[in-house]
């Protein structure tokens, strides 16, 4: 165990990701809770101002403080992405594991289903489901996770195939280990690596997808704020004022690249070759 953690620690991508994660936590988790002020507070006298000491990132078209909006929006975007990725990885694990441990026919059917889900036009289906009725965060999370489990499933399936053919699993079956014991003792530890790296990379993808949906107005609704909804205001900014675009870009860049680096670092250090010493 310690060996593995050591190696992960050494990976440059991961280290960079950790530093960025610190920033992300500060901006998205800590600051929104300690800084006073309402991100929705409008002050029409102070629209479109450039950054001042009072408003670090300036104000938007309704006089709202951009910095406050960004940190709250970033927090919500992250919450949504972290939850969605969790569901997505769980679904992927289930389907991938079942597919990998099943006879060829069921495996084939499940893999075709995975292809099917890959083939859905995601954004149109989001429009379909989210465009009507009342908006609920749960609905958003469920819909997002239903269309993002496929990558994980494929990886889990091929890893399961590999574990299935390993001698230690065969020996464990010969000792009469129950199916659930087999899963938790032998399969899960070997799958943990790809599950965690899959999760982290998934978070970075979902942040982008969720902000895209919120940007076109079908995601998070006011008074809640997401990074996407903030960017929607950028369309109405005077062409000389780059404050909203630059700062919101920085936030999105920070959030997505953090998990991208973390995930890449984890992926590089948890592949099989490590253990075939």
């Amino acid at each position: 165990m310690k060996q593995i953690i050591n190696e992960i620690w050494q990976n440059r991508n991961f280290k960079l990701g950790l530093i960025l994660l610190l920033l992300v936590i500060i901006f998205s988790a800590i600051l929104p809770n300690i800084l006073p002020g309402d991100p929705n507070f409008q002050n029409m006298e102070k629209c479109y101002t450039k950054p001042t000491s009072q408003h670090i990132c300036g104000t938007d078209n309704l006089g709202r403080d951009i910095f406050l909006r960004l940190i709250h929006g970033s927090g919500l975007s992250l919450k949504i992405s972290l939850t969605t990725s969790l569901f997505s990885v769980l679904i992927g694990l289930t389907i991938g594991f079942i597919s990998g441990s099943s006879p060829k026919s069921i495996d084939y059917i499940l893999m075709r289903m995975t292809d099917l889900f890959f083939g859905f036009p995601k954004y149109f289906l989001f429009i379909l489901v989210l465009g009507f009725g009342e908006f609920s965060l749960l609905k958003l999370i469920i819909v997002l996770s239903i269309f993002s489990w496929m990558e994980t499933a494929k990886m889990v399936r091929s890893e399961t195939h590999y574990i299935n053919s390993s001698l230690f699993v065969k020996s464990a079956i010969c000792q009469g280990l129950s199916k659930s014991n087999l899963f938790f003792i032998h399969y899960l530890p070997n799958l943990a690596g790809i599950l965690i790296s899959s999760y982290t990379l998934q978070v970075s993808t979902i942040i982008l997808v969720e902000s895209g949906i919120s940007f076109i107005g079908l995601g998070v609704q006011s008074p809640n704020i997401s990074l996407g909804t903030i960017l929607n205001q950028a369309r109405y900014f005077p062409y000389d004022n780059y404050t909203l675009i630059i700062f919101s870009g920085l936030f999105i860049l920070l959030n997505v690249s953090t998990f991208h680096f973390l995930g890449d670092g984890l992926k590089a250090t948890t592949n099989k070759e490590k253990f075939q010493k």
Partner: protein
């Protein structure tokens, strides 16, 4: 009259992805032998002979295409779940590839611990485990190590311990001596003999190191291209090879 532990009757195993073909190729063809209590048998065969398929068939990890395998008189294909578990725990394999036989992410203790019978308490399990470790001439602190920290010889001994955990009646030894020098072969031989006398196991011993089989041969068979043949004694193998 010794009790018959295992009776293999005319089993054949067709290579899976050729089931639909007209000229099928057999991994095992019409194999029969039996193993009585307190006896051991040796199988002489090299890599492409079908011995792996035979091991998998005996462990019921691969389905046979025809024929039957009887354990204490009952057809293993007709076993209920509990009977199957019982059977499997009584015929433990020691695979040739000990490098890959252990879960690389678990400590040695965790690799072995879960095979003990559930009737034992945790204390009893740990006690038995430590005894087995000592029996194999290993230090007890090996239990907290990870597989990659062990030498090849240590790993091999751990896989033998694993076979003993379920207190089996039969142990299948797949080429246990192949990567050892003569001195270590002798040592391992002594261990096997000790196990045989202490635990009363029957061995199914697969090797092509002919001189060693005399210790485990109440019966000797040769296996080649899926077919099996009974031999008079181990010297007969030399004649067979020259055919």
């Amino acid at each position: 009259m010794n009790n018959l532990l295992l009776n293999v009757a005319n089993i054949s195993l067709v290579n899976r992805n050729q089931i639909l073909k007209s000229n099928q190729s057999f991994a095992l063809k019409d194999i029969s032998f039996s193993l009585a209590e307190n006896n051991s048998i040796s199988l002489i065969g090299d890599s492409a002979s079908g011995k792996t398929s035979l091991i998998m068939a005996l462990l019921k990890l691969k389905p046979i295409s025809s024929g039957k395998i009887f354990y204490k008189g009952k057809d293993i294909n007709l076993f209920s779940k509990t009977e199957l578990v019982q059977y499997r725990r009584n015929i433990q394999p020691v695979f040739q590839n000990y490098e890959e036989s252990l879960n690389p992410l678990l400590t040695i203790q965790n690799n072995l611990y879960y095979g003990f019978s559930n009737r034992l308490t945790k204390k009893e399990k740990l006690l038995k485990l430590n005894n087995l470790v000592n029996l194999m001439g290993l230090n007890n602190n090996i239990l907290s190590k990870l597989p990659f920290q062990l030498s090849g010889g240590e790993k091999q001994r751990i896989t033998i311990i694993r076979a003993l955990v379920t207190e089996p009646e039969m142990i299948i030894l797949d080429e246990p001596f192949s990567s050892l020098d003569v001195i270590n072969q002798e040592k391992l031989l002594a261990v096997f003999q000790q196990i045989k006398s202490e635990f009363k196991v029957s061995y199914i011993f697969i090797t092509h190191k002919i001189p060693l089989i005399k210790y485990f041969s109440d019966s000797i068979f040769s296996i080649n291209k899926g077919k099996m043949q009974k031999l008079e004694n181990y010297r007969a193998y030399e004649n067979l090879k020259n055919d």
